[in-house]
């Protein structure tokens, strides 16, 4: 009996398989994959749109759902009651904050990036003075490593956007501020990676 049931099951599955193969839905999975790889996103989207009839759905408030919502609202415990269940301890009242504090928390930047670049460019021009050059390492060195890296990054943008030039004399590097930004319209002529090492920072005045 079990053998006959199993046999019937096999025949049933074969029948389902044959029905599927004979339908227009049958395409070999490997062929489908190949087709999908070869088609662009636009083509695939177009095929879907040609076969797609989206359902019309309208959402509305009904009297029953409004009653249910009202009942839920009325039976709901207050915020403080619900909070008690979580054992979160005393409740801190919300307090106001300001941009300065948010900047200290690093939620927002105190100054926009372009403004920072502008300030650094002015500082560079000031420090360059009559010599018109400043030692690269002396200029980027700050009170701590994080600030040094930030200044180095800003300087890299100053040079890329033509606010300053970087000159190499032997092992030393000098920054020369431009009076007016002189952007390289055809892109930067060269790229110069500068590793920020401890030795270089120690050598800087």
């Amino acid at each position: 009996m079990r053998a006959i049931t199993s046999l019937a099951r096999v025949v049933g599955l074969q029948s389902a398989h044959l029905r599927f193969q004979s339908s227009s839905l049958f395409v070999d999975p490997s062929v489908v994959k190949q087709k999908l790889d070869s088609l662009s996103r636009e083509q695939l989207a177009e095929f879907l749109l040609l076969s797609w009839h989206p359902i019309v759905e309208l959402e509305q408030l009904t009297l029953a759902s409004t009653k249910e919502a009202k009942e839920f609202w009325e039976n709901m415990l207050s915020f403080f009651e619900r909070r008690k269940r979580l054992h979160l301890g005393p409740f801190d009242n919300p307090a106001a904050t300001d941009i300065g504090e948010l900047a200290r928390m690093r939620v927002v930047e105190e100054k926009a990036y372009t403004r920072k670049m502008q300030d650094l460019w002015n500082e560079l021009k000031e420090r360059a003075g009559k010599d018109e050059t400043v030692d690269y390492w002396t200029f980027i060195k700050a009170s701590d490593f994080a600030h040094t890296v930030t200044r180095a990054q800003l300087v890299s943008f100053l040079v890329s956007y033509g606010y300053a030039n970087l000159q190499r004399k032997g092992n030393a590097m000098f920054l020369v501020p431009n009076a007016k930004p002189n952007p390289h319209l055809e892109g930067s002529p060269l790229s110069l990676p500068i590793p920020i090492t401890k030795e270089a920072l120690v050598r800087a005045k």
Partner: protein, 188 residues
């Protein structure tokens, strides 16, 4: 009953319509279908699980059949965008459905994510799969296999999709290149 969404799934079941309209509800639906033609809409009956497992159980599912009102024609890409659909998402859905159909209605989630990933980027593939499952285009069964969902059965003309796919032009090198994350996320 058909137009307004009352629960998670839109439309109305046969027994709901029977209760509301009486035994002759099918005649009323036929009339409604006729009247909706002018608005380029139609009434669509979806039998439970017919497309997913390719088994027909007509009597058992009749009471549970669901009726929807859907667009009779199709949308242009511009109109689809206005409905909030991105080209990436449409392409990903087409790819996912094609794979599931070619695998006789069931496919592994990982495989679908890989195929979608080639079109929309790896990270987007994960979120798109969740979106398709949530919106009912795909369903995940107890074994973790992905099959066609109720919305696909209601909205998609799968034979047409598969025919278009089968008849599409052969591979071209530039189209086959995988998409990087930035490119995929730029599409508005």
């Amino acid at each position: 009953m058909l137009f307004f969404k009352r629960g998670r799934v839109p439309g109305a079941r046969s027994w709901e319509l029977k209760t509301g309209l009486g035994k002759g509800y099918t005649k009323i639906l036929e009339r409604l279908d006729e009247n909706l033609k002018d608005l380029d809409l139609e009434v669509k009956k979806v039998e439970p699980q017919t497309q997913s497992d390719f088994k027909h159980v007509p009597e058992a599912g009749e009471e549970e059949s669901r009726y929807f009102v859907r667009l009779k024609g199709t949308l242009a890409p511009k109109e689809a965008r206005l409905c909030g659909w991105r080209i990436d998402n449409l392409a990903a859905l087409a790819a996912a459905l094609a794979i599931v159909v070619s695998k006789q209605g069931k496919s592994e989630r990982k495989e679908l994510e890989n195929v979608i990933g080639n079109k929309a980027g790896r990270w987007r593939a994960l979120t798109l799969m969740d979106t398709f499952l949530r919106s009912g285009y795909l369903e995940e069964d107890e074994e973790g296999l992905v099959k066609l969902g109720w919305r696909t059965r209601a909205e998609l003309d799968l034979p047409s999709l598969m025919t278009l796919l089968a008849e599409s032009a052969g591979p071209s090198v530039e189209d086959g290149a995988p998409v990087d994350e930035d490119q995929a996320s730029m599409e508005g």
